[in-house]
Subunit: 222 residues, 2 copies
DNA sequence: ACTTCTCTACTTGTCTGAGGAGTTGTGCTA
DNA sequence: TAGCACAACTCCTCAGACAAGTAGAGAAGT
């Protein structure tokens, strides 16, 4: 039994093109063959291939320039992040966290408000209370880190951090379980120093301390 | 002074439709007038209005059903990253890019292979050729920056960069159009210095130069 | 009264041919 | 060698024709 629902040719053509772009047939910034080439190649008319191109242009994947051609402007809209994060190894996730959090930490030092400081302090104290259970400890730690990112007042960095949280959480839990210890006093100390730097509007120190902290975490990886 | 750069009619028509949808002329789920009505109404041909509709369909705003009509499926773009990026101001996007690219640049200095170096060099040369058109220049620039991120060999950083590409592209184009200049020789020079640092496995310099480069970009914002 | 069928008007989907407009590279000229 | 005209390419737009699908009105049957 074949397809009951028939998709319009233009939609099919758009999917076919996206497939080939994803497959690397044309790299970012490269020119696609002209419509007069693509149309017969896919077995459709010119206006159909044009509509397919417009569709992808609307999604931000292609851009057309009259007289010049059609160009790849993005490889694809981001696919399922869960999938990506699951595939990627932990080291890569931590490296991404370093990128986000170090920058966020520096921005936080410049922009933190008094209420940001209060929130961070509260999170730090809360974290200090949860030293028994591994999961609770990781969660409390995440809250603290998030409060720092929030103080950067950059919505995108916050969203990125939240994207990583679930994957990072699981990795941390496994890591701590294996090690049997959770940084303990040393981690507490460095957190306090980071908060201090942010309070003093010392962006450089805040960034450096955050980097050290996360690099130490990465170093613990098996 | 009007637009010097003439946008294609189809794009203008898409914007005009989006404007009217946002203005509440047609509610969510409602049917738009037929193509044969809209086309004369906007003073364009039928295929043109069709391409405009396809463009909005690609953005998830409209959906067409053969025989039935064109329907509004979303008042604004969907809930995904595109949406977040569109809402966030450009400064926030650049800050996020700084986070990603500075770290990527440092990692690239440590991990770049010879073939990475070749790809970066090729992208840099390509970029130098495209100095005329604004869009072309931005696209070539993106290819170069992406080749650096790729050399970091971290899939997550790459995906993050790709996520920003469409939004960043539009912002850069607007920015350069307003300024009328594109960094020119200075930008070329700093790119070469970044590539040199990566080639020499000098992570610190690579990171610092990348940061300076993007900070300069951010400083140009209105 | 209700269901089912059919027909018709209307809608989007697709193709083709034609000409307009912008870009790019080539080859000629000075 | 530098500058310029031109030709070949590209996408852009329109118009017309027909195919394919939908939905509503009305007829026919139960």
């Amino acid at each position: 039994m074949t397809q009951l629902r028939r998709e319009p040719l233009a939609e099919q053509a758009a999917e076919a093109l996206l497939e080939r772009i994803r497959g690397g047939e044309w790299a970012l910034g490269q020119k696609l063959p002209g419509e007069t080439t693509l149309a017969p190649q896919l077995g459709v008319g010119r206006s159909t291939i044009r509509e397919a191109i417009r569709h992808l242009a609307g999604r931000g994947v292609l851009a057309t320039r009259q007289g010049a051609g059609v160009f790849v402007t993005a490889l694809d809209e981001p696919e399922d992040w869960d999938q990506v994060l699951r595939r990627a190894d932990i080291a890569a996730v931590i490296e991404a966290r370093i990128a986000i959090e170090v920058e966020a930490s520096a921005l936080a030092a410049e922009r933190r408000t008094l209420s940001d400081l209060r929130a961070m302090k509260r999170a730090a104290e809360e974290r200090d209370l949860h030293r028994s259970g591994v999961e609770e400890h990781v969660d409390a730690d995440t809250v603290l880190h998030r409060s720092i990112v929030l103080a950067a007042h950059n919505q995108i960095l916050t969203e990125l951090f939240d994207t990583f949280t679930p994957r990072s959480r699981q990795a941390m839990i496994e890591l701590l379980r294996r090690r049997g210890e959770h940084g303990g006093e040393a981690d507490h100390l460095i957190h306090m120093r980071i908060l201090e730097a942010i309070a003093h509007r010392d962006a450089e120190s805040a960034a450096a301390l955050t980097r050290d902290h996360l690099l130490a975490l990465k170093a613990k990886l098996p």
